[in-house]
């Protein structure tokens, strides 16, 4: 009897203590992946690249105007003349340049978005060589990461610095743009901030990364699974964009030509189908978005297509500048039908407001489904034509340009009376063709520079907002001269505070 009286408590104690194995305190997350489990196999490394593809259309989780690259593209176009918000909404701050100049808003979002992309790319680049697996697959993964690093820096350099070929910038002591401060440069993952590198240094890195990516894509010979992934053609496309800004015409023409091989231009029907299908023959790169990952109100299509009954329906429609539509798009141009005319809108019960865009449409009504275009063969044709024209190869430029524009406007004729005239025509085609796809801000900055063979009158340079379209949203920014400080995004205040390398704020 005494025995169990003693034994029972002791047994309880022993049972309690024996439950404590060493592993008891080892717990691993399930809603996240520990980093050590990512780069120990190819599929983990592949997933890390896929994450960046997803990032391109993520919803940042904060403001509804933060939905990846498409939101930044919209901001870039709103900072030009051709895309106007018809009402108050999340993108007002972009339109009136508060996003670029204010302490927060989309400017700060784009900053963290691209640097997050760079950090993800850097981690992959640093780790991929140590991952067991086939070299070709590893090369392909590395090439995609290099591509994204270049892509992010290309956008950042254009936002935070003067355009590459600008000269004599007063605020930085008359230096040429390449010698002026740009963004901090990181080529490996770190927790410590760097000071600003120059525009020249950033572009050197961009060019080096693109060249390396093209070589790796070509060497690996792996075909991509879908168009949200990067391949050699997309890398060449980015190379062409970069060369265009750098005024490296030969390279721009070559890369643009190589990039668009294998793609064919959209026809009339496709052009009016809503720009929402990544499988379009002309799309080189785009985000392929499914129902579960579509970002509802915080999505490009919510702000663009009022039929989706998102923000375009409730707050403000995105409209085209009236002169561009009325005076600069020929009536024989099918792209005129991508917009609502004033007369249409005046009809009773017509569902759209005047000049409202109908280029981008939701794929299935009652959903938020629409893929986002990120690079198209049309843009490559326009780069190639412009680069040829800058080299005074007007015939070559004419061929490329007409072949492309005829798919939109069969009546089109290239004006080859002078390279000035032809280039102006190409620039206009860029505004029409690439409307809503995020090219205008970078083009405005790029086209304000001096060109060797082309003369742009000083009063044509910079931003000149005209048009009598009476938006409820007013912007104090109507004209920006090429040297205006407002071309520059200001760094987020948190970067100034926390970067131990020291960040000099943009003027």
């Amino acid at each position: 009897m005494k025995l169990y009286k003693l034994g029972l408590p002791l047994l309880a104690l022993v049972l309690g203590l024996s439950s404590c194995k060493k592993e008891y305190l080892d717990r691993t997350p399930t809603a996240q992946a520990a980093m050590e489990d990512v780069f120990d196999n190819i599929s983990g490394a592949k997933a890390a690249v896929n994450g960046i593809h997803r990032m391109m259309y993520e919803f940042g989780g904060d403001q509804h105007n933060e939905f990846g690259q498409a939101s930044i593209n919209l901001m870039f176009d709103l900072m030009g003349e051709d895309l106007i918000p018809n009402g108050q909404g999340h993108f007002n701050a972009s339109y009136n340049y508060n996003a670029a100049r204010g302490p927060a808003a989309t400017g700060a979002y784009a900053f963290t978005f691209y640097f997050r992309m760079i950090n993800n790319a850097n981690i992959i680049i640093q780790n991929i060589d140590g991952v067991p697996g086939e070299q070709a697959e590893k090369d392909n993964i590395k090439a995609q990461a290099l591509f994204y690093r270049a892509y992010a820096y290309y956008n950042l350099a254009n936002m935070y610095g003067y355009s590459y070929a600008m000269t004599g910038i007063e605020v930085w002591g008359g230096l040429p743009s390449v010698a002026t401060p740009c963004v901090p440069l990181y080529t490996e993952p770190t927790q410590v901030g760097n000071p600003r590198s120059t525009v020249g240094e950033v572009y050197a890195q961009i060019t080096q990364d693109i060249d390396a990516a093209i070589a790796l894509f070509d060497g690996s010979g792996i075909a991509r699974g879908d168009k949200s992934q990067i391949d050699g053609s997309v890398a060449r496309g980015l190379g062409a964009r970069v060369a265009l800004v750098k005024q490296d015409w030969a390279k721009a023409a070559t890369l643009a030509n190589e990039a668009r091989q294998g793609y064919s231009y959209m026809n009339g029907t496709q052009l009016l189908a809503g720009f929402n299908d990544v499988n379009s023959s002309e799309w080189m790169w785009g985000s392929a978005i499914n129902t579960e990952q579509a970002t509802s109100y915080a999505s490009f299509i919510s702000f663009m297509d009022s039929d989706a009954e998102g923000y375009a329906y409730v707050h403000c429609q995105m409209v085209i500048q009236n002169f561009l539509l009325n005076d600069n798009i020929d009536s024989t141009d099918i792209r005129k039908l991508q917009f609502t005319t004033r007369n249409q809108a005046a009809q009773p019960d017509y569902p759209y407001v005047q000049y409202e865009q109908r280029k981008f449409k939701v794929r299935v009504l009652g959903t938020w489904l629409a893929d986002y275009p990120l690079m198209r063969a049309a843009e490559m044709a326009l780069i190639e034509a412009e680069a040829l024209a800058h080299q005074n190869n007007l015939g070559g430029a004419q061929t490329v340009l007409e072949e492309f524009v005829h798919t939109r406007n069969p009546e089109f004729t290239a004006d080859i009376s002078s390279s000035d005239a032809l280039i102006k025509q190409i620039w206009l085609q860029r505004r029409i063709e690439l409307w809503g796809e995020g090219f205008r801000y970078i083009d405005l900055k790029r086209q304000a520079a001096n060109f060797a063979r082309v003369t742009v009158p000083e009063n044509d340079k910079g931003l000149h907002r005209i048009g009598n379209f009476n938006s409820q949203v007013a912007s104090g920014v109507r004209d920006l001269q090429p040297s205006d400080n407002r071309w520059l995004f200001r760094f987020p205040s948190s970067e100034i505070l926390r970067n131990q390398g020291g960040i000099q704020q943009n003027p």
């Binding site: 203590l17 992946a33 980093m35 990181y186 938020w368 007013a474 920014v477």
Partner: protein
């Protein structure tokens, strides 16, 4: 002693005479264990308010109502006793036995019962009586003003939500500041609101190291011990029924905002001052188009505003509303959202006990309607507490409880337009709740119900133009309350079982197993007909969350009764050794579907499209070993020590274990010869303690803070991941030393008693997210970044100001002063957040803002002072050095005053809580002073700058300004407040009436909570947040309850 009492009772019983039909006088004396009279002891007839107190020699005299059977004696110094009295007794002498005396209920720490005399730590106890005075659904709300050093927020006023608790100030940065809750001996991780306050016998707040170090890594923020009610030896079953019903309404008004006329005039100025206006855009019609063509007046848009040039040279225009215009409608969003809520509370309990064990069973039902329409909380609780003395050496028991609750809520998110508290405050006054046709009549649907205005309308409205409401477009928070469904149904189960065995004479072992389960289903359904989800055919979201917590501990106690101690009874000691492990498992599953077949369907199976689903599992494991040593000499000198080591899965294997310890001492000074002769001194105890506690409670994302991680981020159907955060393998416990000295005292026949404490605590290795420069591409990591110090004084003073046999007045004052200071910030001098700073030498989150220097009379722009004393109107040019550290939210003094009166059978009490000093950043006011299109303006805006030369401190209004009311000291106000908190008026029926009704006891009462609130600005609730920032949260409500407590 117990035997003596029983014999006494038996003696009284056998001496009983024939029942007498009236009250009579009973005399007696209360003695302490040494046979000396106890002065100031309370003598009360059980079940009544009839009571008296003993005189200096311990004598008393009391009127005993007919039918009364039991006297309750209690003394602050010598404990409590109950005695049965016979009908014929004239004299009843009661001896209080000290052992049981100082116990505060049955509070114990790891099996070691704590009493006020031997305990060397600083504690405060809130009894069932205190809790009963507060008409609260959530027991944590009863903590406000209840004890010095304990603060709670008013937040979480949504029915069924809990406030935050802070003990002795802010002791941490980003780790949780919530104290550890221990329910009947097991750490409690469930929701506080699932505990029925009526089931709680006592809440004991442990504040210093002597009390909290034994809880190791979780003791840094203090510990609250909850003890549930148990059955007592009462002879026959005690059946109690409590019922009350009452109402809730909003206790404080809204901020004062402009009506339609002044609003339109201000909005016009803001519109015309906006950037890039052409003259064509400044017409009345264009202005109203800008406001979405909402014209509440009976004149056309083009004629509503009369435009005047106030300063032609600078093109400054103002608009006034046409004096001939009259309002067509004037809907109040607040009135449509707000309601007087009804609350019902019912509790029934049965309890009994004898030498073989005891039981108590209770069932409670609680139904609260919120002060926002269609928000409510109802709860059913059941608890069974059974304890059995199995043999003379083995005890066992079990405490099981279950709670089912259902919370209907609204979206309280600060950015959600559908948050009713935001809408009620921010919606411009020209925007109606309901649709009005072109004649200004309210429109009806086919059922004759009012049509809601969702903000996107055709031309059938007073303006006869298509309408788009700029604020909360396509939404109507009132409609959403009725047409959508947001609710959480939860089941909580709690079980705690123990075995307690005594063996080998001096040893005792207790094994506790506690299991806590919380299972909730949260629905968020949005209808397919109107609003946010109408374009996708309605949407349903469901989150199923399941948390299981297990706690298993084994405690060995050795109370030596041999060797040196046995020879001299002056030495008493015991030693407790224990082991504990703890595991939290969180399971989460969510689904989201859209595209419903019809408006009457709400479940996912009726929806066409899956638009989101996920699941996850998180675990947190802890393991601990501990020891507690207690010793006293002659019950005059006390000493205690504790040691504990904890391991947690939160940290890397190298930094997993932490060691925590404490020492404490107590000295009963009044038992020393030099004080013994002071008759007025009943008790004086000095105590002190020092120890180390810890904190590891990072939020759920911090479960794995030591490892670098990727988040899952699939790209279409390809699995994908994105880098989430770096890990910090060096992350370790946040440690804290706590030093405390204090006195407990009772003077003048115990009429004045209280506690005074001085404390100093220092936290090291504070856990915080160390932010990175955004350009490194990731947000920051958890790190041990700094140190801080809290020092303070606490006073609790309790006085029986009037002690008459039929009238008593007791006042209790609680005062707390805490000073918080950061002593180290590791990597930099300071860490700057949005408007706040963590800087050495200053309190946590001190405000860090530029100085607002009035308005430039020439331009109307706000001016800010730069470091060199110059003024600028360009906010963007302000650099860090232009910012000032401007105090913190911490108040200089917080306290409460509780007054309790009793007169014959009536009792009345009320409590005033207050705080003095500190700063509060009134963000809501800031927003209302610089509204965006469609948003309301505070009435102070009428002082705005209008034309050059105006001298004012309110800048010009301007829509689309680059900086809209940027952070500055312009919006800092005092954090002081005064709140008449809880008031109760009760009447206890006299015993003779009760007998006629065949009842044991009956008390009827009226209770009120949040009667009156005073703060720096109308509408401002400074208690909503510990850090002095405002949000559109559920405002505190006033509660008025009528009820009864019935003993059968």
């Amino acid at each position: 002693m117990r035997k003596t009492l029983l014999l006494l009772a038996l003696f009284l019983w056998t001496g009983m005479q024939v029942a007498m039909a009236q009250s009579r006088t009973l005399k007696g004396r209360v003695l302490d264990k040494n046979g000396e009279g106890v002065p100031g002891a309370s003598v009360k007839v059980q079940g009544t308010t009839v009571g008296t107190v003993t005189d200096i020699d311990g004598n008393y005299e009391i009127q005993i109502p007919e039918g009364s059977e039991v006297l309750e004696i209690s003394s602050l110094t010598d404990g409590k006793a109950t005695v049965a009295i016979g009908e014929g007794d004239e004299v009843a002498t009661v001896t209080l036995k000290e052992d049981a005396s100082q116990q505060i209920g049955e509070v114990s720490i790891y099996g070691k019962a704590i009493d006020k005399k031997s305990f060397t730590g600083s504690i405060a106890t809130i009894t069932a009586d205190d809790i009963a005075r507060r008409p609260v659904t959530d027991i944590t709300k009863a903590l406000e003003g209840a004890a010095p050093g304990v603060a709670i927020t008013s937040g979480g006023g949504q029915p069924g939500a809990s406030p935050d608790i802070q003990i002795r100030g802010q002791n941490t940065l980003s780790a949780s500041s919530a104290p550890l809750i221990v329910l009947d001996g097991a750490p409690y991780s469930g929701s506080m609101v699932s505990i029925n306050p009526n089931d709680i016998e006592s809440m004991t707040v442990l504040k210093d190291a002597a009390a909290t170090s034994i809880y190791g890594s979780r003791g840094a923020n203090g510990v609250i011990l909850l003890v549930s009610k148990k059955g007592k030896k009462t002879g026959k079953p005690q059946i109690n029924v409590d019922a009350s019903v009452g109402m809730l309404n909003r206790s404080m008004p809204l901020y004062k905002t402009l009506g339609a006329k002044e609003y339109l005039e201000t909005a016009y100025a803001a519109y015309s001052n906006g950037p890039g206006k052409t003259s064509g855009q400044l017409s009345s019609a264009q202005f109203l188009a800008y406001l979405g063509n909402y014209n509440p007046y009976n004149v056309p848009n083009g004629e509503l505003m009369q435009i005047e040039d106030v300063d032609l040279a600078n093109g400054i225009k103002e608009g006034t509303v046409n004096p001939n215009a009259s309002l067509l409608y004037d809907d109040s969003w607040f009135n449509e959202l707000n309601q007087v809520g009804i609350r019902h509370v019912y509790n029934v309990s049965v309890a009994n006990g004898d030498d073989r064990g005891n039981y108590r069973f209770s069932v409670g039902y609680n139904n609260d309607q919120g002060i926002v329409k269609n928000s409510s909380y109802d709860r059913i609780t059941a608890r069974l507490n059974v304890n059995a003395n199995v043999t003379d050496w083995l005890k066992s028991g079990m405490n099981v409880a279950g709670t089912m609750d259902n919370q209907r809520f609204f979206v309280g998110d600060q950015q959600a337009y559908i948050n009713p508290f935001m809408t009620a405050q921010v919606m411009g006054p020209i925007y109606p709740v309901y649709r009005y046709d072109s004649l200004g009549n309210r429109m009806k649907d086919i059922n004759g119900d009012d049509l809601y205005d969702f903000g996107v309308n055709g031309t059938n409205n007073p303006s006869r133009l298509p309408q788009t409401r700029p604020f909360a477009t396509n939404m109507n928070p009132v409609a959403s309350l009725f047409q959508d469904d947001r609710s959480t149904r939860a089941f909580s189960g709690f079980g705690n079982a123990y075995l307690n065995a005594t063996f080998l004479k001096d040893f005792n072992v207790v094994v506790n197993f506690g299991l806590n389960m919380y299972n909730s289903t949260t629905n968020q359904f949005q209808n397919m007909l109107f609003g946010d989800a109408s374009n996708i055919g309605g949407r349903m979201d469901r989150t199923i969350f399941n948390r299981i917590t297990t706690n298993f501990n084994q405690i060995l106690t050795w109370t030596p009764s041999f060797s040196i101690f046995a020879e001299d009874e002056d030495h008493n000691a015991d030693l407790v050794l224990g082991h504990e492990n703890y595991l939290i498992t969180d399971n989460n599953a969510t689904i989201e579907r859209t595209g419903f077949i019809g408006p009457q369907f709400m479940e996912g199976s009726a929806a066409a499209l899956g638009t989101g689903s996920s699941s996850s599992l998180s675990e947190l494991a802890m393991e601990s070993y501990f020891a507690i040593l207690s010793y006293n000499f002659k019950e005059k000198y006390y000493f205690s020590a504790s040691l504990r080591t904890d391991g947690s899965s939160r940290f890397s294997p190298e930094n997993r274990w932490g060691t925590f310890w404490s020492v404490g001492a107590g000295w009963m000074m009044n038992e020393e010869s030099f004080l013994e002769n002071l008759e007025w001194m009943n008790m004086l105890k000095f105590r002190g303690s020092y120890g180390i506690t810890g904190n590891e409670a990072l939020n759920a994302a911090g479960y794995y803070a030591w490892m670098p991680r990727y988040s899952f981020y699939p790209n279409n159907s390809n699995p994908g991941i994105i880098f989430s955060t770096w890990g910090n393998p060096n992350l370790r416990w946040e440690g804290q030393f706590k030093f405390n000295i204090g006195f407990d005292f009772a003077f003048f026949a115990n009429r004045i008693n209280g506690t005074i404490d001085y404390f100093l605590s220092g936290a090291d290795d504070l856990l915080f997210v160390r932010p990175f420069a955004p350009s490194v591409g990731t947000g920051g990591i958890y790190d041990n970044v700094g140190s801080m110090q809290n020092s303070g004084v606490e006073l609790q003073l309790n006085g029986d100001i009037i002690r008459k046999s039929n009238f008593t007045y007791n006042a209790r004052l609680n005062l707390t002063h805490v000073r918080n200071k950061i002593t180290k910030v590791q990597t930099e001098d300071s860490l700057i957040g949005g408007g706040t700073i963590l800087a050495k030498g200053f309190a946590v989150n001190s405000f860090y803002l530029p100085h607002f220097a009035g308005v430039d009379p020439a331009t109307g722009a706000a001016q800010y002072e730069k470091r060199d004393g110059t003024l600028t109107t360009d906010y963007a040019t302000l650099e860090n050095e232009d910012y000032n550290i401007l105090g913190s939210s911490f108040r200089d003094l917080e306290g409460s005053l509780t007054n309790t009166f009793s007169y014959k059978n009536f009792d009345l009490s009320f409590m005033i809580s207050f705080g003095l000093g500190g700063q509060f950043y009134d963000g809501i006011y800031a927003r209302l002073m610089s509204s965006s299109r469609g948003e309301a303006y505070h009435e102070d805006i009428v002082k705005r700058w209008r034309k050059p030369g105006d001298v004012t401190d309110v800048p010009k209004v301007e829509y689309d300004a680059l900086y809209q009311s940027p952070l500055s000291d312009r919006f800092l106000v005092s954090n002081s407040f005064m709140n008449i908190k809880a008031a109760t008026l009760g009447y206890t029926l006299p015993a003779n009436t009760l007998e006629k009704l065949n009842l044991k006891s009956l008390r009827v009462f009226v209770q009120a909570d949040n009667l009156y609130y005073l703060s720096a600005r109308t509408g401002l609730d400074v208690q909503q947040d510990f850090f002095g920032s405002s949000s559109f949260a559920y405002f505190p409500y006033r509660t008025i309850m009528f009820g009864l407590n019935l003993g059968l």
